[in-house]
């Protein structure tokens, strides 16, 4: 809604317009102030902790004068137990996100033609509703050496002995896919359905079959949305925690950066170090997001409609 513009009863130029009116002309009045409680709350409990954490991270436990302000960061990057977590987390998050995004495209293209989408979307929303912890527990049972999956594989002769899917990389990988595919899929679906169907119709009257329509019309219009979907999914996957602990091998191959942060905070009670790790975590996420979004600038970014002038 645009701001109300209140006509000023203009008499002499020297008459001062009351402050209240001037503010109202710029859109600030009693109603605007309604945003303050929530905004202040977020400032206090999101922005401030962040700044506090940043500050805390450069006041390391040993004392800034003694070990230098960036001691935490130095320690992080010199201790392979710590900096390896970045790579480990990337090694999990990037493939999972890429697979999710790529898989979501053909599924979304099919589902958008369905009439009874709600049932399918409800089923797909289950893993998210249930949460990562339950999914982890379920997978511990299901993927375990005695679990149904291994049994089925052995019964069908696909493997001769149970494959190791829990307490290793694969367990976490599968958990992440189950847990974040629905999110990726639903976002992609909304972008796909946002493309004006008359564009595809026009393309088909001009001789384009399904593959040509996808390649020339749908994909270019989808790419900006896919970039956003990628970013949102990646950021979530990068922050994986309960799956990595319960289903992975938190001491080694699935020691993700969130585990390092948690240990610093709650096992070493080094809040300064924990904040530093959280900052690093946020920074890596930001880096990837910026990288993806700037390459998005190379693609068409306007509306995906047929244009009505």
């Amino acid at each position: 809604m645009t701001s109300q513009s209140i006509p000023v009863a203009g008499s002499g130029r020297h008459e001062r317009v009351p402050l209240r009116l001037r503010l109202a002309q710029r859109g600030i009045d009693g109603v605007t102030l309604l945003v303050l409680p929530a905004a202040l709350f977020i400032l206090l409990l999101f922005v401030y902790p962040f700044l506090y954490g940043m500050n805390l991270s450069v006041h390391p436990k040993g004392g800034a004068e003694t070990v230098g302000r960036f001691a935490n960061y130095a320690r992080f990057f010199s201790d392979s137990f710590l900096y390896d977590t970045i790579l480990t987390t990337l090694w999990l998050a990037l493939p999972v996100t890429i697979i999710n995004v790529v898989m979501s495209i053909p599924v979304a293209m099919r589902v958008r033609l369905m009439r009874r989408q709600r049932l399918l979307t409800t089923i797909l929303v289950l893993p998210v509703t249930l949460g990562a912890v339950l999914v982890a527990e379920g997978l511990l049972n299901y993927l375990g050496p005695q679990g149904w999956l291994n049994r089925t594989l052995i019964t069908f002769g696909l493997v001769s002995s149970p494959i190791r899917l829990v307490h290793n990389y694969w367990g976490v990988f599968i958990a992440l896919i189950i847990h974040s595919f629905p999110f990726t899929f639903l976002l992609t679906l909304s972008y796909v359905t946002g493309i004006d169907p008359s564009l595809e119709q026009a393309a088909s009257t001009l001789g384009a079959g399904p593959r040509a329509r996808f390649r020339h019309i749908i994909l270019p219009l989808l790419l900006p949305g896919l970039a956003i979907t990628f970013c949102l999914s990646f950021v979530q996957d990068f922050a994986v925690f309960p799956s990595a602990v319960l289903l992975g091998a938190p001491a080694g191959p699935t020691r993700v950066i969130s585990i390092a942060a948690y240990q610093a905070a709650f096992e070493e009670y080094d809040y300064s170090m924990a904040s530093a790790i959280a900052m690093i975590m946020g920074f890596v996420q930001l880096l990837i997001v910026v990288a993806v979004l700037t390459s998005r600038g190379l693609f068409y970014r306007g509306p995906a409609g047929g244009g009505k002038g």
Partner: protein
């Protein structure tokens, strides 16, 4: 004219896609079923199905994990979070929907950030602040922490609902003498009830399933069910697997009940999508 795509190939492609979806869904249900079956079994090792069924694990889990207390705490926290986030979020959504003011974009960004940044990333600094201020480990600490993502969520969910209300209806109310408070009580809240209901339900669900924030800020008397479950699973060697799974099933039931209720009012996409597409 250019020839058609090979219809056989397109058929195969369609079947392949559905096969993948089906595979996903089957595995999902199988996974859930495993938990349920295990929770009901006497012992289960090395066979397709357990040799015997019992419900005793539910009773033992209830006592062992003090689920009655935990459930009460969980509901209290979820209800408080829902109520407070609506209290803060509805007026803010109204202001953002109806007014354009300098710095509005910044405020929108402010509300968007907690939804985009994953909970663990801001959770650690948040937990630090809460512990330093003495709220850490208490129920209020957990409530406050969970409010951080839910207030913006309510705001973002409600803005389109508010934009749908014809501003002239409000103008009419004002012409007839209603101040802002009465406008809210008599006009806006009634008209917004579906939206507020949707938002509150979604917040309830998300808070019950919210893990990271509660995990980082809770203490022994302030854990939600999901956090207790986590501790139980990670200590699984100590406790009987069946017992843990019984707890898991109870947790599942609580979230699923809310899901079913919520689905009458909202569409599944809104449960998952955290950021509204403005692109």
């Amino acid at each position: 004219m250019k020839g058609n795509e090979n219809p056989v190939l397109s058929r195969l492609w369609a079947y392949a896609i559905w096969a993948v979806v089906l595979f996903f869904v089957i595995n999902l249900f199988a996974m859930i079923a495993t938990v349920v079956v295990n929770s009901l079994s006497t012992r289960w090792l090395g066979t397709w199905l357990p040799p015997g069924f019992t419900t005793r694990w539910y009773f033992s889990a209830w006592k062992e994990f003090q689920l009655d207390d935990v459930l009460v705490v969980t509901f209290q926290i979820a209800a408080a979070v829902a109520f407070l986030s609506a209290l803060l979020g509805v007026p803010a959504a109204y202001a953002l929907a109806r007014r354009d003011f300098p710095g509005k974009k910044l405020v929108m960004l402010l509300f968007l950030l907690p939804l985009l940044v994953p909970p663990f990333t801001y959770g650690i600094p948040l937990a630090t602040v809460l512990y330093k201020s003495g709220l850490g480990g208490t129920m209020w600490g957990v409530i406050v922490a969970n409010l951080v993502p839910t207030v913006p969520f309510v705001v973002l969910v409600l803005i389109p609902f508010i934009e749908q209300i014809d501003p002239r209806v409000e103008a009419a109310a004002r012409v007839f003498g209603a101040g802002t408070v009465r406008l809210f009580i008599y006009v806006l809240v009634p008209l917004l009830t579906p939206g507020i209901l949707a938002a509150v339900l979604l917040v309830l669900m998300r808070t019950m399933a919210a893990f990271e924030l509660t995990f980082l800020t809770s203490g022994p008397g302030s854990q939600t069910l999901v956090v207790s479950l986590y501790y139980a699973v990670s200590a699984a060697g100590v406790r009987a697997g069946q017992s843990v799974d019984a707890m898991a099933v109870i947790y599942m039931l609580t979230t699923l009940i809310w899901l079913l209720i919520a689905l009458r009012f909202v569409n599944p996409t809104q449960i998952v999508a955290r950021a509204k597409q403005t692109h």
